[in-house]
Amino acid sequence: MLPDKGKISASQLAIMIFPTIMATAILSVPSLTMHYAGHDMWLSPIWGSVVGVAAIGISLGLNSLYPGKTIIEVSSQVLGWLPGKLFGFVFFFYWPHLIGLIIRVYGEFISSNALPETPLFVIMGTMTAVCALNVRLGIEVVGRTSQIFVTLLAFLLCLIFVLLIGELNPKELLPFMEKGLLPTLKGAVSPAAWFSEYIVLAFLLPFVHNRKNVTPIMLSSLVVTAIAMVATNLFCLFLLGDLTDSFAYPVMIAARYITIADFLQHIEAIVIAIWIFGIFVKISVFLYIFTITAAQWLGVKSYKPLVFPLSYLCMVFTYWLVSDRPGASSLVSTSANVYTLVILLVLPAALYLIALLKRMLGRKKKRS
C-alpha cells in the first residue's frame, strides 16, 4: 500500500533526481574533489558515477523483484517483520539527519552569501515550510514543480557557463594526471556519495506509472548528472585554476567573476536564486521520501498528516547536527561521505543480495 495515490512519469522522476544530486554537489564537489585530486578533479565525478550506476541497478532490481513496493515494504518481506522494521528504522533515522544537513547547508550558504544579518532560523524555516507545503500536496505536485524549476535551472546554468566562456583558460587542464590516477580515485569518494543518492529511486519508482523506459531514462539521467558535475568542475578549474579549493564556494566566485560589457556583472544573486530552486527540489524530494518512509514504517494509511510534524523534526535536526559553519562543512567532508555511502549504497545492496538469494533458493525449492 502506497500512502500516496499520485503518479508521476519516468521522465518526471529523472528530472526530480537531477537537482536532488546537483543542488548541493555544485557547491561542495569542486573544492572537495580538488582537495584530493588536484587539478585532475574533473575526472573524479566520472569514477563516482559508477556508484550511481550501482544505486540505479539496485533500485531497478528491487523494483522488478517486488513491483509497486518501496524499499521499506520490500525489507519487511525479504527479511521478515522484525529485521525488516530494523532496516526501515535505519532509514527512518537517517533521513532527518540528511535533510537537516541539507537545510543547514542551505541556511549557511544563504546566510554567508546573501543575508548575513538575517537569523538563520528565518532562512531555514521559510524554506522548510515551503517544502513541506509542496510535499503535502503530493508526489504529482512535487513532480510538476521540479519540472518547472529544473527547466529554469538548466537554462540559467547553461547561460552562466556561456557568459563565462571568455574568461576560461583551458590550459589549466595541464599537466594531465600530474599525480597519477590514484588521487582522482580518492577524490571520487565525495561525488560517489552524491551519486549514491540515486537510491531515492528505490523509494520513488513505485510512483511511476509508465515503467516501460525506466532503465534507459534513469541511465541517461545519470549521464546528464555526471556531465553536469564534470562541467562544473571544469569551469571552476578553468577559471580559478589551483585556487579552486581555497574558496568555500568556487561556483559562487565563478559567478561573481562574470562581467559582460560592464553591464552584466555580479550576478551571483541570480546564481543564488537559481540554486534555491534546486535546493527546494532537493529538500522536497527527500522530505517526501522521509514522510513516505515514516508512513510505511509506522503503517499509516496517508502520509499527509505526518508532513508538518516531520518537517519540524528536520528543522530541529539542523540545530542538533552542527553549531557553526565549519561544523557544517565537516559534515560534507570525506568521513561523512563514507557514512552516506554505507547507508545509501551498502545497506540497499545487501538487501538486494538477500532478496536475490531468497528468490534463487525459492526457485530451487520449487524445482526439487
Binding site: 548575513p116 528565518v122 599537466p175 585554476g241 589551483d242 585556487l243 567573476y257
Partner: protein, 397 residues
Amino acid sequence: MKTKGIKYSLAFFLSLLCGLLLSGCWDRNEINDLAIVLATGIDYSHQKVELTAQIFIPRKSGSVSSTGSSESSPSGVTMIRTAEGSTIAEALNRLQRKVSREMFWGHCEVVVISEQAGKQGLREYLDFLLRYPQFREHAYVFTSGGEAKEVLALLDPLERSSAESLREMANLGLGSRVTLLELAQSIASPSGSAILSRMLISPADPGQKKLATTPYAKGISLFKDGYYVKTALEPVSVGVLLLSNELNNFIMPIELPQVKGAFSIRMNKVKTKLTPSIVNGTWGMGVHIESEGEVVLNTTNYDLANPVMLSKVEEAWLNRFKELAEQALQLAQKDLSADIYKFADQFRRYNAGIWKKNQENWLTIYRNMEVEITGNVIITDTGKSIEPQGIPHQASN
C-alpha cells in the same frame, strides 16, 4: 472549506506583515545609507597600513539646471577617506569610524597598491580582499609610484572619478590588465611572480586646481614571491609586457640601419607563445612572437609599396622585438632572478614529473636557462598614403 481558504490566506498575510513590522528587514540597506566605495588604495608608512577609500558623493551636482550652465567643476563627485592600522583589517575598522554611512565595497572595481606597500608583501592584502565578502574578484589591481591615496584623490575632469579612469585605462589595455583573482592566481602559481601596471599622476594643467588631473600609466611594477622588487620603465617595460603577452595598443618606432628617419608601427595584435623544452637535461625555452601591425608614420624617404622595403622594415621590427625581449629577460633572469613570465608554469604543464623533481632548484635552472627568441611579424597595412607625404616634390621627374 470556504472559511478555511480565507483563513489560510489571512494567516499568510498576517505572518508576512508581522515579519516585516516586528523585526524584519534584517539585511535591508537603503542606498541612502550606503557610502559607495569606488576604489580602494593601500599605502604603507611608519610601519602602518593605510587604507584609503574613494567614496561617491550622491549629491545632484549643483542642482542640475537643464541648460547645463552649472560650472563644470569636477569637485564634489568623489571624496577620499584614509585610516591606518597595524593590519589592513584594523585600518578598515578605523576607516568605517570616519564615515557616517555604512561602507559598501561591492562596487569597488579598482585597487591601487603603492609600491611602498608592495614591498611589505601582497599576501595580507590579497587574503583580505578575497575573504571580505563584498570585494569584487574582478577588480583591477594597479600599483602607484607615489602614494595610492593621491591617485584616488584625483578628480578626473574627463571621467566621473579617478577609479573610472583607471578602469577604462585597464580596459583599453594600457599597461597590464590584472584582476584581483588573476593576481592571486599568479602569485599562487609555481612562478610566484606578478606584474602590475604602475600609475603616476600627471601634473595639472596650469590654472586648474591641483587635483583636476588624470592618473597615467608609466612602467610596470614587478613582484617576486608576492613582494615588490623593481619597477621596469620604458623601454624594458615594453619587453616585459611583450613577454607577458600583455602588449596592447602600442605604437613603436622602427629604425632601419643607414636610413634617416623611422617608421612607426601600430601593433594590432601581439602574441607571445612560450614553448618549453627539456633536451638531455638542458632546459630551454622558446619564445615565439607573432605580430601584425600597420604603419602610421613614415619619416623616411622610402616608398612602402616596394615589397623589398616592406620586408626590410618587418625584419627591423622583429629585431627590435628580440632586442626588447632580451632586455626583459636579462632583467628577469639575471638581475632579479624572478620568474616574471611564468616559465615555471610552462614547464609544469610540459612535463609534470621532471618539474616536480627539479622544483627545488628551479631558480638556478631558471637563471641559466637558454631562451631562444623567434618571431614572425607582418605589416598588414601601410595606411591611407602609399608614398611618403610632405616631401617637396621633385618637379618634373
